[in-house]
Every structure is written in C-alpha cells, then in structure tokens.
Point group: C2
Chain length 148, copies 2
DNA sequence: CAGTCTTGACATTGTACATGTCATTATGAC
DNA sequence: GTCATAATGACATGTACAATGTCAAGACTG
C-alpha cells in the first residue's frame, strides 16, 4: 500500500478512535453525574487552576455560549465556583471546588489506569511516532483549510 | 513523558484530528451537493459495488433508519438506484448510477491528491507505525467497553 | 465621556444521530 | 402449507452537541 493511502486510512480512523474513546470515557463517568463535555471543562480547570468562560471556550475550540451552559451546570453541581476577577468585574474567574477537584482527579486517575492496562504491546517509540504523525496531520489539515 | 501519558494524549487527539479531517472533506464537497454522511454512503457503494441499506448501516456502525434517510437522499439526487434483490423482494440492492460513480470517484481523487500534498515530511515507516498504534488502540478501547 | 468590546443570558435553529412503532413482506420450523 | 418470527421501509419523536443571533450591562480606549 502506498504511503498516501495509509495516511488517508489513518485520517479516516480518527472517527472510530474518537467514538471508542468517548464511549470508554462515558463508561468511566457513569455515576459521577458528569458528561464528556462537563468533564472537559473540569479537566481544563484542573490543569490551568482557573479560567474565564471565554478562555475555556478558546481551549475547547467551541463557542463561548455553549461553554457558558456547561460551566453553569458545574456551578449548579457545586463542582466549580465563581471568583472575582480583578481585571474584569463582569467576567468571573472559574475555579474548582474541593469537591470538583477531587472528582476530576478521580476520573482522570481511573482513565489513566485504564490506559496503562492498554499500553501492553505498544512500545514507547512507536507511541511517540504515532503522536508525532497525528500532530503533523492535524497541523497540515488545519493549514490546508485556512489557506482557502 | 511516560508512555501511558502519551497514549492518553494520543487518544484525546482523535477529536481534533477528526474535526480537522471532516472540515477538510467538507471543503472538498463544496458544490457537489454531498454531505460528509452521504459521501460515506457513496464511498461504501464505490468500494462494494452494491449493498442493501442495512448492510451499509452495519459498515458505518450507525442505525439503519438513519442510513435509510441518507440513501433516500442519494436516490433522489440520482446518484444511486434501487435494483431488485433476488434474495429479498422488499429489500432493494442499492448501486451507484454512472453519475454517482463519477462524482464519488472525483471526490475521492481530489481528497487523495490533497493527502499526497500533505505527505511530505512523513516517511512510510512512521505512517505505518502510526496506523498500527491507532488500530491497536481502537481494538483495546472497544474490547474494554465490551468487557463490562 | 463617547464609542467600541467583552461578557453573560437567553432564544432560535441545525446536524447527526438514536429510539419506537407500524405495516408489509420474507424466512424458517414444523 | 401454515404459522411464528425476523427483516425492511417509512414515519414520528427525542436527544446531545453545538452554531448563531440578539440584547443589556459593564469594561476598556482614545
């Protein structure tokens, strides 16, 4: 098979991969009250410590209005709180509550141990290469779209 | 970075990859009247020559009712036709019309040439490895889900 | 302080499906 | 053949994940 055919195939495998990944994540979220999307919000806050709604939207590359809805859910569930923003009185800084931090930490921990159990049969350099190739493909696809 | 962290990262890159890929495909579909989904139907028919609606649904791993809608669209646009099925009078075999075949051939051809232009900087063995790793991950994720 | 941006809130719309139901055949077991 | 069961197409309804538009309040810039 030619290289370009393999790349083509690889690109189209992104959908099954994503579906399988999200199904697996969803399973791990069972009982937590989280969805894949609210989980994504908590994950960002866990990594960044704090962020405004528009900042989260930029990270997730989806629009701020929808992120606002997701954040409002996490606020209602007491997983996050609004803190005063010294730079902008109307735009609150969102941070995790202790409860939220514990929850996302637990979720990510369980996901990581699942991944570890899947890592048998794959060696480090192969994974590294795969990561590099996929990163490059995303870059190339995006730049192709913008160049129109 | 540890191997499992890299795998974790790779898995989560499937969404941006898929989005970038579908955006690129959508761009290539501009003016054809096709959507990413009807394109998928035509692609299967191009590869398989013929298929019933339930068979297409199985390939796409989505439910037959939705596939029926997509197929009906392609029938309305004269890209496919219903042929008699000797094995089942009610379930027509769907095949491409000459118009449909020419269209999907052209679309795939343009996609392939785009991929070729992106393949610089990636060598064959790297792509091969990436394909192998991603395939393995999909397998592992799916079997994990089923084992519950 | 006038004009422009940013943010949050809310309403509307769209896409991509899943699910349920029904009538119409088909098929397989007897 | 007959009868139970399954497969198919058609249609209705529901849902998750958003995009888009609009507005008012507040913030920032010159």
């Amino acid at each position: 098979m030619m290289k370009s055919e393999q790349i083509y195939k690889l690109i189209w495998m992104s959908r099954p991969l994503m579906q399988a990944a999200e199904n697996a994540v969803e399973l791990g979220l069972d009982g937590t009250g989280l969805t894949v999307r609210t989980r994504a919000v908590l994950e960002i806050l866990y990594a960044e410590d704090e962020a405004t709604v528009p900042a989260i939207a930029q990270k997730l590359e989806i629009n701020r209005q929808y992120v606002q809805l997701m954040v409002n859910e996490t606020l209602a569930d007491n997983l996050t709180v609004r803190c005063e923003n010294p730079r902008h009185k109307k735009s609150a800084i969102i941070t995790l509550t202790d409860q939220g931090r514990a929850l996302i930490k637990d979720v990510i921990g369980r996901e990581m141990s699942l991944v570890r159990s899947m890592s048998a049969g794959l060696n480090t350099s192969e994974v590294e290469t795969a990561l590099k190739v996929v990163t490059a493909l995303i870059e190339k696809l995006k730049s192709n779209i913008e160049s129109d």
